[in-house]
Symmetry: D2
Subunit: 381 residues, 4 copies
């Protein structure tokens, strides 16, 4: 595993727990954590249960006893590491976003295609696809339960930037983060929309907004938990992105990604309206899925709140009895299950790097539209 | 209309509005308001749109141009007025509870039976039966949608007595009110349980509780809006009643009536569990009904939130388009519709005085059980 | 009252009921219903409780005993009737939208300004402003409870056009209706956004979409309840409108108006996010308002579901005790109260025709943006 | 760990995960799984990550390298194992219910008291106390946020027995299970009520009900997933228990434990009403807590839905960022944290065996009341 921040914790939990609840065809071993700082990497290995730590990712990738490279570093480093690993014949799991630019994402996708021919698998970590309610949503749409998709609305709302005292961390600087709310959380709703509907976002019109334009410089500490120093600096990424997309079947989809939705903590919501029904998901209530069936008797129609904790539901039978809630991190175990199974079976795991590239292209089109007074802009590729 | 308090306002609204939205077979005229205080009665007639006012209810009942007597006085006066009116050949609508004692309720029921033979109709005002979602609930249960009823839970929760400064109004004194939470709001959940299930409460075990035993004496003003005087007096009715009933098919039903459920304002809830499904209603969300269908495909089961505002739903087509909410007072219009229709058709309106008596008998059995360390007590009659 | 369709029923209920629950400074009399068809007008007068009916609105406006003209006809007739009435010195209540075009709306606003100098009042019927929870929302924002407004999201979602068998009624033809979802329900969310925030929508970017482009021709009957004939015709208005607005303080607001949100019946929702809190309203749960207070202790923060049925809340004390629900039509009574009070006091009632014009200008800007590949478009005026 | 069923999986997950997210003062090692069947025990050890397996629990308890005994066997075996372990100087974590009888529970409590003097700790596994929202509920009540507790309502509703085809597993036979819904899930709501309020249940009145009295005999397989054989047998435990308790401060608490609440899967709900506020919890929405503050301004009062995922909330800061949901199993990690910390610190972990005994005494009083036509029955001890 290259990197060991918040995502490192989540991935480690996935690797540790998945083999206990699922019958995996291969038994993964948690070998090495790589980080720039030797001491921090050693501490992370100890804390999260990896056998060793190292500081040189190239060296680790070069080792024969390493089969899988799990990349949880910031987005600007993904391309170099992933391509190196794929060329070395390793299977690669790369955290989202696939890269900070379309060019990088394309290079990675090419590398994945080449590696695939040699038997190496590449997968990008849109873990929310593996929340059971989201997987069920896709299955129900594929089975025709909402009929023809006619409208989609998707939003990812957080509020951690409402406080103007939050300092100017690297995530708020374009040179490091590439993008703000759009790239970080907007990527999730684009991927989820495409995943659950089976449709592509073909063109977009949108606007990016930076609501608090100056923030205190970062003092001691790092990241979001850092403390403020004296002086102010410019926020150079978007705080919120509002955009509309045209799907490949002609339907409109509306999107909002924001870190300024006061009171909304991690509110990823998707609602798909079709001519036979509708489905709605909310990540703040992740064990449920709401389904409206237009084919039900008139007097009984309404949104059914399905508690997605039954053994019939995706992934659930491996866990607890009906009615016992799953949490945020279970998706990371499901990701391990599907990735390891694909490696064993020699099949392409999903979401592929090509899926990640497609999301990147939509993000880039939104930025171009925003720069051009929101004109409709085709998604490249 | 005899009486003109809060219930007088609600009944007046029913008489005024029902003929506008529904095609009634008879056109009722709002003739006389009767009250002890001549000025107050005159003001009430003016405010609520009645042609005249009077102070002597016997005289008004004696008038030939009066066909219907609507009784909205306190419970201890119901029997005398209703029996007099029925004996005079008038149709009688009597607000709940039918009476303060079983003996009175029985006499009223006997009078209603005798009057019925002479063509006079009698009905008791359990208006909540006519909330469309409640009527729908009964229809669905009657149609077998929940299968065999196996458990019922019903509660009516308010919180207006939590404040210890609320003064000792007549409603908190046994000699005037007869009963506290049990008789006032407990009556509703007993009636609603029997109505929606079609089953009778045959025996009960329960306990009454007075949580704040002393309150400031009532100063100026009256009723619940009165102000406190110096000194304290004893609360002699129950603040809360918790009881369990055995229904006529053997199922258990649990009940709670309380004025001490902090934060619950008018939360009448009923949930019926059967072997094929369940239905749940909440008066604080009165335009909806929740239905669980055990016969649906396993992966789609869940509580469906039916918005009971479709033209297919009871009473709704007379009002607004789908999705437009009804409120508390619409039930009073529905009551007028059903009462007037029964008068016209010569049929027995429901709930009958016999239904009111049955509720009274359950209330009395709960009191007896509470007095006898909660032993199971058969409902008389 | 000119016109007597669905809105005529709602306005009649307002005129009939308001004086019963509120102490009005003037006592309105329900005089004449005007309709093109004499028999239908006579029936409407009888059904909704007006003394007379007539077919010539000019004649009725010319009568000396008529003080108030209430216009509930389709939008394309508003301008002529309202201007005539204002010039005749009548007070005018005009149902929304103020007009079908900006030009008409401007002429009406000019007429209202001129009439105002002569003591005649003009008001437009955005009744949802008078849902108690909406009025409370405005008051709380004005009192600083959400702080600086930083984002708004507003949507009005219905689903009555999802069924492709719904015939081609006049509402779906541009020459009669002027606009589709945008003008009909989009107008509400624009007005409500401006009302609750006290901010104007200054520019917009958006897209209109017609999802079902051909529908069966209308056979017998009229309006939405008509039956289909043979043959198909073109739908020439929008089924859905998705747009973004820039408010006068710089904040972004996102909007959606749709008749294709499967399962959503009358779901007008508005959420305002500020730097001190947030407020959220949903018309399908109209007795509640959700408030998030960022100034509360950290561990207690969350959305508070306020049941807006307490005597302290706007309009509520005139109705029922706490916890008793109001419905759709109560706003029409509140409208009468405020209109009659303004007439009596000689003050300008709100929303004024100028408010209606402002909404019309936003609608027109959305249409222009949609026609111009969604480029940002300033709101005229 | 003695035993390795469903609870064994949950406890194993707690032991495995807790040290990764929390800084424990001691580092537990997962040593031995004990089960009667050698092969099954070996498989469980392999699956759940224990170093060894064994079949003789006495032998394992006798080992010097074993410090902690975790008991997850059926209730009828708890007493013997726990007492043996405590006498051997081991720390003991015993799954709830503490025992099947009061006598056993008392003997265990005595053994725990004796062992405590020698430094061995004993704890019973009411894990739901450690759902962060529940711990927060207790803290808020202790801090006076609801004021004086005046009413409590607690329910645990499941529906897995509604299907009459569910076979007659050991859980439905009194000789093996001791009790039905009462002992299994009723125990939870008694403990939780006492835990969050800090009050004891002093006396009770209640009734047990067996709704489906005959079930198919169990064929192949075991437990709840077994298949039916030919023939029917008698259900000898309760399917539902409805009871009322008097708390040590005089307040009434109502309880329901049922396996027949159609549509409710794991709905443990507790609501505490006090004179300053109220708190409500629902295990099917376990990341939230609802708080009503009677001291808030009148027009802003309502239930606040607190998302208990902030770093300020109990246990949460060790996990994920705000808004990221926890699931059922996280309580088992929290249990490990608190147990290991108490062992290290030499303090008494909670809930103690005495707490478990107190729950057992309440259960026994409910059974006695049910046998005696529901008369009020004091809780022994």
């Amino acid at each position: 595993m290259i990197g060991h921040g918040f995502m490192g914790a989540a991935h480690s939990q996935g690797w540790r727990v998945a083999p206990r609840f699922f019958d995996l065809p291969l038994r993964p071993e948690m070998a090495v954590v790589v980080g720039r700082n030797a001491q921090a990497a050693a501490e992370a290995a100890e804390k999260w249960g990896w056998s060793e730590s190292a500081t040189d990712w190239r060296e680790v990738i070069g080792r024969d006893d390493i089969d899988i490279v799990d990349i949880v570093t910031p987005g600007d480093t993904h391309a170099e590491i992933a391509i190196t690993a794929l060329e070395a014949g390793k299977h690669v799991l790369c955290e989202k976003p696939l890269a900070n630019t379309v060019a990088e994402a394309r290079a990675m996708t090419d590398a994945a295609a080449a590696a695939s021919a040699r038997g190496a698998r590449a997968m990008v970590g849109f873990t929310y696809r593996r929340v059971p309610a989201v997987t069920l949503m896709r299955e129900l749409i594929a089975a025709g339960k909402v009929g023809r998709v006619q409208q989609v609305r998707a939003a990812y709302r957080q509020d951690w930037l409402v406080d103007p005292a939050v300092p100017l961390a690297w995530r708020l600087q374009k040179e490091h983060a590439g993008s703000g709310a759009l790239g970080d959380i907007g990527a999730h709703i684009i991927d989820m929309t495409q995943f659950v509907t089976g449709l592509a976002v073909d063109s977009v019109s949108g606007v990016l907004d930076t609501i608090v334009r100056q923030r205190p410089l970062l003092g001691s500490g790092s990241g979001l938990s850092g403390t403020a120093a004296e002086g102010f600096g410019e926020v150079t990424v978007d705080d919120a992105a509002v955009f509309t997309g045209r799907l490949s079947n002609g339907a409109l989809a509306s999107f909002e990604a924001t870190r300024f939705a006061t009171g909304r903590k991690n509110a990823l919501t998707v609602e798909v309206s079709g001519d036979r029904g509708a489905l709605a998901f909310d990540l703040e209530d992740l064990n449920t899925l709401r389904f409206y069936d237009r084919t039900a008797p008139d007097e009984l129609q309404g949104f059914t709140r399905i508690l997605v904790t039954e053994p019939q539901h995706p992934y659930v039978s491996a866990w607890w009895p009906a009615g016992h809630m799953l949490g945020y991190e279970h998706g990371f175990s499901h990701q391990v299950v599907d990735f390891v199974t694909a490696i064993h079976d020699g099949t392409q795991p999903e979401p592929s790097f090509a899926d990640g590239l497609r999301v990147q292209r939509v993000l880039e089109a939104v930025e171009r539209s925003s720069d051009a007074v929101s004109v409709w802009t085709p998604v490249g590729g």
